[in-house]
């Protein structure tokens, strides 16, 4: 069976279903018997959700104003 260190290094990949069949099975086999790594796996799942649920960055008013000015300058190139 793979070690805790190996299992932990594969957890995000395991949760994202990125591992090939053998690696996936080895992590699954390890998680079936290792309670500590189950905690790690649960936390890795929470971290993924935490990362993906970040609020979308907003367009600040000053940047918007500069980008609109940039668009105007592009349009003026044709006139």
């Amino acid at each position: 069976m793979i070690s805790c260190a190996e299992a932990v290094s594969h957890l995000w990949g395991y949760l994202a279903d990125e591992l090939d069949g053998v690696d996936h099975e080895q992590v699954e086999e390890h998680l079936a018997v290792c309670r500590r790594c189950c905690g790690e796996a649960e936390f890795a799942g929470l971290l993924r959700t935490f990362m993906t649920s970040a609020t979308q960055p907003k367009l600040p008013a000053d940047v918007e104003s500069r980008l609109l000015g940039f668009l105007d300058s592009l349009e003026k190139e044709v006139t």
Binding site: A5, V8, S9, W12, G13, A16, E18, G39, E40, F43, A44, L46, L47, R48, F50, M51, T52, S53, A54, T55, Q56, P57, K58, L59, V63, E64, R66, L67, L68, F70, L71, D72, L74, E75, E77, V78, T79
Partner: protein
């Protein structure tokens, strides 16, 4: 480009600006404004290629991704000049359990994540080398597959998997460092909400 086409381009491009900037900010952090300007310039030059304006979001998105790819391709493919900081088995889960910032809590890992504001995630991601941040954002936030990212940067899929692995470990470590530097570990659950 005719004057009429120029005006149409401006109208279409203005509608894309908020989400285009948002995507650029996620991918390239502080360089977002430059990346959007570059994207607008390329889109302007190729506007005659956009036949259906309904497809404008996907078209602009692809142009922005191309700009990001070119911006980082050299950096990503550059051989390492100095050995990278080793992150062999970093585990934020273990770090939180070992330090145990809230000894009376029975959900210390959840409490740790609850101390962050949702916008803090971007500040944490900004601390990660673009070589690892860009693939992380593309896969986990933009929904690209690892094989799409591999094609985008002309590398093997295994290389993308190793970038992702390192990027995730860096994200874990930077979360901890950010929390420490911003005194979040002294914050009670919900204080920042």
């Amino acid at each position: 480009m005719s004057e009429e086409a120029g005006t149409r381009f401006t109208t279409v491009a203005r509608e894309q600006l908020p989400w285009l900037y948002s995507l650029a900010r996620r991918l390239v952090g502080a360089d977002a404004e430059d990346a959007v300007q570059e994207c607008l310039t390329r889109a302007y030059r190729g506007f005659s290629g956009l036949r259906d304006e309904q497809a404008a979001p996907a078209w602009f998105r692809q142009i922005l991704l191309n700009c990001v790819r070119e911006r980082y391709r050299k950096q990503i493919n550059r051989p390492r000049e100095e050995p990278e900081d080793p992150l062999p088995d970093y585990s934020l889960f273990r770090k939180i359990a070992d330090v145990d910032p809230w000894p009376y809590s029975d959900s210390v890992h959840l409490d740790f994540l609850a101390t962050f504001d949702k916008a803090d995630v971007w500040d944490v991601l900004d601390r990660i080398n673009p070589k690892y941040r860009v693939p992380l954002v593309l896969v986990h936030m933009e929904g690209l597959s690892t094989s799409q990212v591999a094609r985008m940067f002309s590398v093997a899929q295994g290389t993308v998997l190793s970038w992702l692995h390192r990027g995730r470990k860096l994200f874990e470590r930077e979360l901890w460092d950010y929390a420490t530097e911003h005194n979040l570990l002294k914050t009670s659950k919900g204080d920042r909400q």
